[in-house]
Symmetry: C2
């Protein structure tokens, strides 16, 4: 979900590959034609939608979606023009080399940091790929707004490395956002059994999967050698054990809820809650679980221009928090 | 640390095996003679002091301490009379069958639940003992106030089982307290590498160590089969990963800090912070780290009769929180 300058929102509904305009006050949802064709089984579908930083003048929007076939799918990014409520010229600008028969672990979150477009690519349920530079699975990639590869990406000069790669060793990141003050890129990802992570994503950083992890195999047993840290790999800022299954990531910067200004919000699929984090000097000093157990499987967190806070869940609810008294 | 009816406090200083009376206003510490003889190397020493529920009339106090020799030590509980600032008649009422050459993992926390005295016994760095009923290591025990074994303890009729055992499968619990509303017994314990746990301790419950754990071997590799849950074993209420090294456990019931009423406080040795937890319907919905990184290695958390909150650390500081404005 992303808010348009006129106060309406663009909403991507993953399972039905639907991109619609939502008028908040009335709740009227107007589907757009001209959206992507998605693979829509399992976890596949339409994953995210963001606006170009210059959307007011250039009207460019970006979507990420599962593509290929049900038997062999990957994730792609397309951009198009949204003018007068019509989406035109949608064109794929990046298709991840992350094909798999599993309909899982797409990642698929998009965000702009300054003029660069970042996207998370899941490991596609192939543990071995996330540490290999020769493919895009388990990576975060960095692109120009037209899909070209920036020539200052960390691995552009490395033989057999995909030049779009910004960071490696991710499992299934479903949250990506830029810190409004530091302009750092933040992401979170699903661990295997437990060991979900919140990370500050640095240029060329290795986030460990599947060499080191705070999680376990689902059927028992360690990940890799069963260690949680290794030289040359980044330690997470926060670990969630047991898992919360994080989805959606927002730095709240509004004034509608003054006590929450500066908080980091993360949706939780399995906990069915909205997680609020407060950081001080780069450390998490408070973690709160709002609507704990009753929020549904929270998939998105968003704020409008005024600072109203919204969450959306897999059950199809979109909720707005009341202003604090 | 425990408060006396006259507003002064009894303080146990682990490393020097000192039991003293502290006058809060002046800070004057008056050592008591007649205290226990402790082993005081490593983690050994004087671990806890509590009052009998009828202390006002019977003047009985209890201490837990490391005993034996430096080469082969265990943990014991003694009781004595504290009258007119003199401690007399200190007598050992329980000596755990938990001897080891390691000077670590004593546990050692005491609390009364109604008329029963509960004590935590660490696994003494012998992973295999915590699941065996034939010794006291890695257990919580339940005693009458004179050290006799209650005949309704869960394993009294089981052959080769120590009758004092209340719960099994603990590693190194340094927090033990009774919930003021539910009268449940709560405890927390240090995991190995990560996987510290907060538990509600039930009669005959098995808390998993060292069969299942959310932690790892310090040198890498799984605990047991590398699973986190097993039928017949209790899942923790909360897991701390990375470790916080919890010590001290308090249900805050005072009015001095109205916003904190009902909060659960836990000291953190490695995080050097005081952790505040808020629970709702038996789930942790908020975790806050107060004085994060600057509180010293917090070993104790206590409140006086008025509700003033105190923490003590390994550096020898005793801090009182200011009332909230």
């Amino acid at each position: 979900m992303v808010f348009l300058p006129d106060g309406r929102a663009l909403i991507a509904q993953r399972r039905i590959c639907d991109l619609s305009i939502l008028e908040i006050a009335s709740g009227i949802l107007t589907p757009l034609t001209g959206g992507p064709l998605c693979v829509t089984e399992g976890d596949a579908g339409l994953h995210d939608v963001v606006l170009h930083p210059d959307f007011r003048t250039n009207h460019v929007v970006y979507v990420s979606f599962s593509t290929g076939t049900i038997e062999r799918s990957t994730i792609a990014i397309a951009r198009g023009l949204l003018q007068n409520d019509v989406l035109v010229g949608l064109t794929t600008i990046f298709t991840a080399d992350a094909y798999a028969d599993a309909l899982q672990h797409y990642g698929g979150r998009l965000t702009f940091v300054d003029e660069y477009l970042f996207a998370t690519i899941g490991d596609r349920h192939h543990d071995d790929r996330a540490q290999q530079l020769s493919n895009h699975a388990g990576k975060i990639v960095r692109l120009h707004d037209d899909g070209r590869t920036p020539n200052d990406n960390p691995f552009v000069d490395q033989k057999n490395a995909k030049p779009e790669i910004w960071s490696v060793g991710h499992r299934n990141p479903q949250g990506l956002s830029v810190h409004p003050d530091t302009h750092e890129l933040w992401s979170h990802e699903h661990g295997p059994l437990a060991g979900d992570e919140l990370n500050v994503v640095r240029r060329g950083g290795n986030y460990g999967w599947a060499a080191v992890s705070y999680g376990w195999q689902y059927l028992g047993g360690p990940i890799g050698r069963g260690i949680v840290r290794q030289a040359g790999m980044e330690d997470p800022l926060l670990v969630w054990t047991p898992a919360v299954a994080p989805s959606g990531l927002l730095f709240y910067s509004g004034d509608v809820y003054p006590e929450w200004r500066g908080s980091v919000f993360v949706g939780s699929l399995v906990r069915k809650a909205l997680i609020r984090l407060v950081l001080r000097d780069g450390r998490v000093v408070l973690e709160e679980r709002l609507l704990d157990g009753i929020a549904g499987r929270v998939r998105l967190v968003a704020q409008d221009a005024r600072g109203n806070l919204f969450i959306g869940n897999d059950e199809g609810d979109l909720l707005r928090f009341k202003p604090q008294q």
